[in-house]
Symmetry: C2
Subunit: 204 residues, 2 copies
DNA sequence: GTCTATAAATCGATAGAC
DNA sequence: GTCTATCGATTTATAGAC
């Protein structure tokens, strides 16, 4: 084989793998790990039944790769926001706005993350990845709230409690938006931030 | 048969049905609808495989009955809190405290409700029940926030937006508590209420 | 690289004995 | 009322042709 052909084959393989991952994200998100059949994924990707096993070793394998993407991108988005410039309040505001500006398709990854944390049918490795990144995420957020309290921008209370409440709120709002996709003007970012700002120092 | 025997049989039937429903709530909550096998339910209930079909017509039937319980009890708890005495703020506070004082086992019903709204594998009838009760729940909450705004206890903003944010927060916090069962002192009710109270009128 | 056919295991539901 | 045995359909994963 000439290098030219080899290169084309590699391109096809990458494309097929992406096709299957995109289809998997959608179907796993909508139907859950146990509720998703291989035929659902290849049907969504418009590929034949057997072909999926040329790109992934098993159904578990696909889910784990998708879970990895879900938790890594979520963590990196928060990391970037927390470590950017601006005051703690400004960074929290920008991060929150950024999260709710993400495209619709990311909802599938949110549901995959949700299932990983709530369903015992999901591959063990996916849960391990979740735990790894959620610990790191809480560390980042706790630091942000701690700093904001010292600057007087946030209410003085347990920073970990604030970090837990912030992620809880995020999860809840994303879930509500998934349940009612036609909702407009929700959420109001100012309403979310009000939870953490002291009345005396409240921003407009 | 004497009435005495008939009465005993009825008692056994009620007991078995409750046994199966309790087992179903646990495994459906933990494994999801598609991920739950009949053998999981009867195994948890410590009954034989075939017996479950003497009490329920199908796997769907059991899930629908559990979903009905989940949405009805949630709605009734909110209804009772909203329609009780006290100012809107006091009722919101009491309701929030009550929700997080519920026993651990109710977590399974929360997960069943969650799956009903996010998984396309769940019986259609369960989703219909969810929609019916969520509409009625939002009406109650919207009324409470509206009233609270008129009395100056809550921030003036779209009452439906407040109702959506409140239920989102509730869902998110319950989810966080399920993910980290060892968490203590979370959530702080005051922190939640701060989202809706105006700084000038804020309670202690 | 892609497809169809099939193997092997599993699951929901029923039948029939006790 | 309860249990075991079994049918029928479905599913993951593999084999082999093109």
């Amino acid at each position: 084989m000439s290098p030219r052909v080899e290169e084309q084959n590699q391109h096809i393989r990458d494309k097929r793998k992406q096709q299957l991952l995109a289809a998997g994200a959608k179907v796993f998100g909508e139907r859950g790990y146990a509720g998703t059949k291989i035929s659902d994924i290849v049907g969504e990707a418009k590929l034949s039944h057997g072909l999926i096993y040329h790109y992934f070793s098993s159904k578990e394998d696909i889910f784990i790769e998708l879970a990895k993407t879900a938790f890594m991108t979520s963590y990196e988005a928060i990391q970037q926001a927390v470590q950017s410039s601006g005051s703690p309040f400004e960074r929290l505001q920008a991060m929150t706005e950024g999260i709710f500006a993400t495209p619709r398709e990311s909802g599938h990854f949110f549901l995959i993350a949700l299932q990983t944390n709530t369903s015992k049918t999901v591959p063990e490795e996916a849960l391990a990845i979740s735990k790894e990144y959620s610990g790191k995420t809480f560390d980042l957020l706790q630091e942000l709230f701690q700093e904001g309290q010292e600057l007087g921008e946030f209410v003085r209370e347990d920073p970990m409690g604030q970090a837990l409440m912030y992620t809880s709120l995020l999860n809840g709002v994303v879930f509500t938006r998934l349940t009612y996709p036609s909702l407009e003007g929700f959420p109001q970012i100012a309403q979310i931030l009000r939870m953490f700002t002291d009345s005396g120092f409240r921003k407009e």
